[in-house]
């Protein structure tokens, strides 16, 4: 049975086109079809949803959804940078400048193009669009000589583009034709709030403006003239006023199209020509174009099924509910958010102009079903509301409780309340039933469920919900989610901490003798030993290099330096607040030169010296201590740095001495061992140059004192810190941080940063405020006393070790030979040494 393969051509290699390829590969379609994919752009399919991150550090490679190897591996011919210019349906061929290619089946996945309003002057140099990587390159090039930029269009994409211009340091304005921003998603009240929030970011917002023409400017390259003859000048103009389907191939070959464009498809994604299918933003289904990725993916799945002669699920339209973060502002719209599509709809609205939050519910006339919802400023309620809406669940007696702030936190819908048909992941269309089936099929943890169902591997927005469903279902099946820290202790870190606190246990051996699992050899392991070492240090703050503690430490703590990939170490002396004298800077240079160390300035405003050999560490530190340095704990789970801006001492905007406060905080909390590393920052005014809102503890100066932010994080999973207390005096600030840190040390899990700890804390921020600020548990004094004990017992670990010859013996590379390790080989790069 060796029938020749049919030719399948896919025109378009965007997100949906690529998803179609993946679906086809997954279902073995390349057995049946010889597949050719045409892409007009020079780039392989990339993640357009996160396009604006191109200006905040991501490059084309990291946005790519696949590789050329993937296509080659599966025998798919990928022809990038080759635009299809015509469709010859009679001959069954597609035409490109390079040639003609026959097809048996064809898929149009050509997507859409940005709509540029027909304004005279819209084609001037420096008038650009925001859609592709090449567009972004053009914007970046143009921005180099520009200082001001305007985005025409205040919808979702327009605000994305405005964010991109801000990222390029342009003074940015948004011009919207409608009377408010995001007219599709929000109403006038929500729009007003959105405007306030976006203006607060320094973006000028002009609504109700129809641009009449664009001409030469006086102060800038362009001048936009509006309907009332008012003008706005800018060097760069970006049009982002909606999208239009790329349906010219269909038009020229007389495929059926909609009145306002779009290739008409049926439920199986077939066009009026049964040999041809269409998917994504070019496709018009029952009069609608779907400009989101999730419905596009659903169409791709249906199209793959159609091409393989399957009879799987048909396309049944898609929900256009969206949850967005635009310019850092949460916006959510669910279903009939305006309440104008359902007769008899009733509304609940909540507006908080202080916190700048707006929430609206649209419910059925009997108040039992959620028809739609609108959120501005805080999307926390989105997931729960989406479940009520998507699954038609009956609303609680008082639906307003879903959007009203309450001290116990709004009621959230538990995983058990969801029906089997509830969609958990809309990108990959995974239902709760699919997740249950995967668990019943043998998946025993979150990772396995994700691998099997692909849930939460798209936009990731459902991660928290997925976890709670998986946890709940595992529990319901009697799978005990084991919380033991490791095989040596049937306790969590918090329990071990309490045992140490209550029983006053001071060594690991005593703890494991009394509370360890007798089934083991009671040696401990690389999980429990460092965790217990940290607990003991948080409590008693004895030197970690003491004989009883040294076998517990990770290599970094053992040698008080950070091990690098070739077995050498990096050395980071403390530079409190990032303030350093010229003399000390010179010493760092001299030491680095003498010991052949690579030097790099860290993100925490200090200097890292890399490549130190184990046996050189004591000599290096001896010289550093002589110059007045002390250990920086870069190797420890403890306070790293307190970053600061220069503050009122020098800065014309500063309102407080941020450097002074940073030094005070760094010196107070240095050496505090904690469940994970801690990073602080202090900014001298609201411009926030120290980036305090991305730290575990962030302090921002006000006219009257200090605002305290907590539980922020940068790194892999960034989280904005939350405002915890305002206008604190120096003393109140320190007292609050004392309590906060000790409460974290006491209750967090092993290696749990404050951000994750906070997200898992029952009762959330309100609970934390009660405990710390109102002392609801009555432990405030105890926490402060314990912190004072740790502070009083602080001693520079390197200074302690250097005074003890027994401890220094540990720093020999070999106990029987002074030869250095010959396998550490370095090479020179950019004038410095690095591992070869």
């Amino acid at each position: 049975m060796n029938t020749p393969k049919q030719h399948l051509i896919i025109i378009g290699n965007g997100m949906v086109g690529h998803h179609l390829v993946e679906q086809l590969v997954e279902r073995g379609a390349n057995e049946r079809y010889a597949i050719t994919v045409f892409g007009e752009e020079r780039h392989l399919a990339y993640d357009r949803v996160h396009l604006s991150e191109y200006f905040s550090g991501r490059d084309a490679d990291s946005l790519a959804l696949s590789t050329a190897d993937y296509y080659a591996e599966h025998g798919i011919e990928l022809r990038l940078h080759e635009a299809v210019t015509a469709l010859d349906r009679d001959a069954g061929e597609v035409v490109t400048p390079q040639g003609r290619y026959p097809y048996d089946r064809l898929v149009l996945a050509t997507g859409s193009y940005p709509f540029v309003p027909p304004i005279p002057g819209n084609d001037r140099e420096g008038c650009l669009v925001y859609r592709t990587l090449d567009d972004l390159d053009a914007i970046r090039d143009a921005a180099e000589t520009a200082s001001t930029g305007v985005v025409v269009g205040g919808g979702l994409l327009g605000l994305e583009a405005a964010n991109a211009l801000r990222g390029l340091n342009l003074d940015t304005a948004v011009v919207e034709f409608a009377p408010r921003l995001m007219p599709m998603q929000v109403d006038s009240e929500g729009g007003e709030l959105l405007r306030e929030k976006i203006e607060a970011l320094g973006v000028q917002v002009l609504t109700d403006r129809a641009t009449q023409r664009i001409e030469d400017g006086i102060d800038a390259a362009h001048r936009m003239v509006f309907q009332d003859d008012k003008v706005l000048e800018a060097d760069l103009i970006v049009f982002s006023a909606g999208i239009r389907p790329r349906d010219e191939l269909a038009r020229d070959s007389a495929l059926e199209r909609g009145e306002r464009g779009g290739v008409v498809i049926d439920d199986r994604c077939l066009t009026s020509d049964p040999a041809i299918l269409a998917v994504g933003e070019v496709a018009l289904w029952q009069g609608s174009i779907f400009g989101l990725v999730a419905p596009g993916y659903q169409m791709a799945k249906v199209a793959a099924d159609t091409l393989l002669g399957g009879e799987g699920e048909s396309f049944r339209g898609a929900d256009m509910s969206t949850k967005l973060k635009l310019l850092g502002v949460d916006v959510g719209a669910i279903g009939d958010a305006h309440g104008d599509r359902t007769p008899g709809a009733r509304m609940f609205r909540y507006l908080d102009q202080i916190k700048q939050e707006y929430r609206k519910l649209v419910v059925s006339s009997d108040g039992k079903k959620l028809l739609g919802a609108m959120l501005v400023g805080d999307n926390a309620a989105y997931d729960t509301l989406m479940q009520y809406y998507g699954n038609g669940l009956e609303l609680p007696e008082d639906p307003a409780s879903l959007i009203l702030p309450t001290s116990e936190g709004a009621p959230t819908l538990g995983a058990d309340a969801l029906p089997e048909t509830a969609t958990i992941c809309s990108c990959h269309n995974v239902t709760k039933g699919d997740i249950c089936a995967s668990i019943d099929g043998g998946a025993v943890d979150l990772g396995a469920v994700k691998g099997e169902t692909k849930a939460s591997t798209g936009c990731g927005g459902c991660a928290a919900l997925l976890k709670s469903v998986v946890d709940h279902e595992l529990e319901a099946r009697g799978v005990e989610v084991d919380q033991s820290i490791c095989e040596h202790f049937a306790h969590t870190r918090q329990e071990l901490y309490d045992i140490v606190r209550v029983e006053g246990i001071k060594t690991f051996s005593e703890l494991i003798d009394k509370h360890g699992n007798p089934e083991t050899h009671k040696l401990g392991c690389d999980i429990c030993k460092p965790a217990v070492a940290s607990i003991l240090a948080s409590f008693f703050n004895e030197p970690i290099t003491d004989a009883a503690h040294i076998p517990l430490q990770d290599t970094n703590d053992t040698f008080m330096a950070n091990m690098q990939k070739n077995g050498t170490y990096s050395v980071v002396p403390r530079v409190p607040g990032g303030e350093i004298t010229p003399d000390k800077l010179v010493v760092l240079g001299q030491v680095a030169e003498k010991y052949g160390l690579y030097t790099k300035v860290t993100g925490g405003q200090r200097i890292d010296l890399f490549g130190a050999r184990l046996e050189d560490l004591p000599d290096i530190w001896s010289e550093l201590l002589d110059a007045g340095f002390e250990t920086g704990h870069a190797y420890a789970k403890s306070l790293r740095t307190v970053k600061s801006c220069v503050g009122s001492t020098w800065c014309r905007y500063g309102v407080q001495d941020s450097v002074g406060m940073a030094i005070k905080l760094e010196n107070r909390y240095k050496g505090l061992r904690s469940p994970h590393k801690l990073k602080f920052a202090v900014s001298g005014c609201t411009r926030e140059c120290a980036e305090a809102q991305s730290k575990d503890i962030g302090v921002i100066a006000t006219e009257h004192g200090w605002n305290l932010y907590v539980c922020g994080n940068g790194g892999m999973r960034p989280r904005h810190a939350e405002l915890f207390a305002t206008d604190l005096s120096d003393d109140a600030l320190i007292k609050t941080i004392d309590r906060f840190l000790m409460f974290y040390v006491r209750t967090a899990d092993r290696l749990q940063r404050t951000s994750v700890w906070r997200e898992n804390l029952e009762g959330g921020l309100d609970y934390l405020k009660e405990v710390i600020l109102e002392d609801s548990l009555g432990i405030g004094d105890e926490l402060e006393t314990q912190m004072q004990h740790v502070i009083d017992n602080y001693e520079c670990e390197w200074s302690n070790a250097l005074s003890d010859p027994e401890k220094l013996k540990r720093f020999r590379s070999f106990v029987n030979d002074s030869r250095p390790d010959p396998d550490i080989i370095v090479t020179e790069e950019r004038g410095q040494l690095r591992p070869a």
Binding site: H521, K529, P551, K565, N566, F814, V815, N816
Partner: protein, 132 residues
């Protein structure tokens, strides 16, 4: 059994390595040792016999010697790992990528195909001797 393996075994001899005072209880140190194949870096681990510690299997000597070279990171760092017991056997965790190696036979627990070399090692009075 090939003659080459037999020859290797044949040429191993006991030699002094370091002293008891060089060791760190419940942890490791590194040393150079001369072997038939040339100089080698060994990691020596010392788990004192403790009346409170239940007897370890293969724990006759209190001492273990393994390759100091970590095949995963290609750096000489094994002696600087954390000692512990996992699934019933004493192990060391590589300080770089955290794979566990059994002290008794050098077997990597995460990758069956990886095994560190081991040597016999024991106290003679206050000296540590190794058969290499």
């Amino acid at each position: 059994m090939s003659t080459a393996t037999a020859a290797k075994t044949m040429t191993r001899t006991w030699q002094p390595l370091c002293t008891r005072a060089d060791l760190v209880p419940y942890s490791g140190v590194a040393a150079w040792v001369e072997t038939a194949e040339g100089p080698a870096q060994v990691a020596i681990f010392y788990i004192p016999a403790d009346p409170n510690t239940p007897a370890l299997p293969d724990h006759a000597t209190e001492l273990y010697a393994l390759d100091h070279h970590d095949p995963f990171s290609v750096a000489n760092v094994i002696a600087r790992g954390i000692v512990g017991d996992v699934k019933g056997a004493p192990v060391v965790a590589s300080p770089i990528y955290k794979q566990h190696f059994r002290l008794a036979d050098g077997q990597c627990l995460e990758d069956e195909s990886v095994k560190l070399r081991t040597w016999s090692v024991s106290f003679k009075g206050d000296e540590v001797w190794i058969e290499a």
